[in-house]
């Protein structure tokens, strides 16, 4: 019974498509052109050359190492999140204790803490712990800042498990631990994949912690590599954009495979 098409909004969305799509097209096209072609014909012209040098060039300037580092950081952050958040969310949803609700409030408060707010003491803490310029020094705070949102997402998912199932298991004399492994974990697979994607995105795109907590090439992550590439070879725009495209390939792959989980997680932020 739905109404006529909304032409005005449709036109508006096409304009927006142009605003979003054109820069992405220019970026992609530029990375396949030679530097000379780009400089002579400008960014929005039709390419008259084809090359993959911009991609190989990025690897020559160290991006292989940066990718590896980012991968290590991302994997470890996901590991920590998966280790800590499911029990936390389980307690938030099922425990009746006052301590648990205090802990939950602590995490809600944590949602509002931006990384910039703690970066100075973080630098102090990490240096004192001897983790400066060490990937572990990036992993720990990055994981910590993934916790509040992950806890919120996962406890939301766990709330959907029907109480009757718990009651049935309790009737059979199951312990909380058994319920956790045999009921809660299998039934929150959707929520778990959402928090994995969410933390992966955070870790992969993280910038401030690596910027402040590392310095040498061997601990540099992709985002820092981009930033450095820009300050050092700012005029080699096709090369720079090649590095940008490379930096987003893994995330786009994850997106293709986990689109639903990601969108669900992000929409959940709106709360409704």
């Amino acid at each position: 019974m739905r109404r006529r098409p909304n032409y005005l909004a449709g036109a508006g969305s096409l304009v927006w498509l142009f605003v979003v799509g054109l820069p992405l097209y220019v970026m992609l096209a530029a990375t396949l052109r030679t530097r000379q072609d780009y400089a002579e014909n400008g960014p929005v012209s039709i390419p008259d050359s084809f090359t993959l040098d911009n991609y190989t060039g990025a690897f020559d300037s160290g991006f292989g190492q940066y990718f590896f580092n980012t991968l290590v950081v991302t994997a470890c952050v996901i590991g920590i999140v998966l280790l800590l958040v499911p029990p936390l969310a389980y307690a938030i949803v099922r425990s009746r204790g006052r301590t648990t609700s205090a802990i939950f409030r602590l995490f809600l408060l944590g949602l509002a803490i931006p990384a910039q707010a703690v970066i100075v003491p973080m630098f102090y803490l990490i240096s004192e712990a001897g983790l400066y310029d060490n990937l572990l020094g990036v992993i720990l705070p990055t994981a910590a800042f993934c916790l509040p949102m992950s806890a919120l997402i996962l406890s939301g998912a766990m709330r959907d498990i029907s109480p009757e199932l718990y009651e049935a298991m309790a009737m059979d004399g199951a312990s909380p631990t058994r319920m956790f492994f045999q009921l809660v974990m299998p039934l929150s697979r959707g929520g778990l994949s959402t928090i994995v994607v969410f933390s992966a995105l955070q870790a992969w795109n993280g910038f401030l912690f690596p910027l402040v907590l590392t310095q040498s090439d061997s601990t540099k992550v992709v985002t820092l590599g981009l930033y450095n590439f820009q300050t050092e070879h700012g005029i080699d725009i096709p090369g720079l954009l090649g590095a940008v495209v490379l930096s987003m390939v893994p995330i786009l792959l994850v997106y293709l495979f986990a689109r639903r989980a990601l969108v669900r997680g992000l929409m959940g932020v709106g709360g409704k």
């Binding site: 707010a117 100075v120 402040v212 720079l240 992000l266 709360g271």
Partner: protein, 318 residues
Amino acid sequence: MTTQITSARPAAGPRKGARRRPPASNATKVGRPSFAWALPAAVFFALFAIAPLVMVAVLSFMTWDGISSPEFVGMDNWSRLMDDPVMLDSIWLTLLLTVLGVVIQTPLSVVLGVWAAGNQRNRAVLSVIYFIPLLLSATAVSVLWRALLDPNFGIPAEATWLFGDGNLFGKQATAIGVLAFVATWQFTPFHTLIYQGAARAVPEVLYQAAEIDGAGRYRQFFHITLPQLRNSMITSMILMVVGGLTTFETVLILTQGGPGTDTTISAYYMYDKAFQSFDFGIGAAIALALVVAATIISLIVVRVSGYDKMRSTMEGVS
């Protein structure tokens, strides 16, 4: 921030309402996990987020160069900040950029979100493309736009009729314009997604009733859709404000706070003071001011909007 998330789950249907106040019998306690399950995460979080937050307050009363040990100096950092014209300017700039962000992105993402919640044929494809900026890191987005807007090799050099001399980063007004534009480009898709989710949840009966009363599309939008999006709008705005106050990479990469200090927003000034001038005490003071500002603004938005009273958008539906 806190209130809105807790109240963001009023999804308590009759089922959940029924088990809200359980009798304190043994039956309800059986098989419930103790708080110990939450402890590892809580300790980890306290160590790496809460403790630094406390330390930033302490450090703001100290002077520290990053090498020798910190020394207590009382209100010194704070009084220096009060007299620092760059700091005052940075606060105005931060507020300006935040307000610009809310004013530009809110109408845009409401309209796009409501549109995307509809059932157009090509909506799915378009949504995928809209979504891409959301996946890019702020770093990648900033590097991309820095390249596209390069005065010599970028788009402005080609379209001088539109951009004048093409050096958008050379003047304060255009540099701020670029920062606002890039933020819009990057974050509008996210807020669109929030509104899309919310618009889908608007009960269809409301539109059916309006249709019967002969209300046109635009009346339906202003009298049904918009009021129903109220809660999401507040959530989205709070996120915009907190995001705006803490913008950092964009400024670092696009303008380096320049020309001069014309785009030195507070978060960038904090980084500059702490990690480039090695004046960590001042940096901590700026950081603390940022947290306090973000918290106060969130609380005000929640209070003014009456969101804390949890007025339901479902009013008049059932």
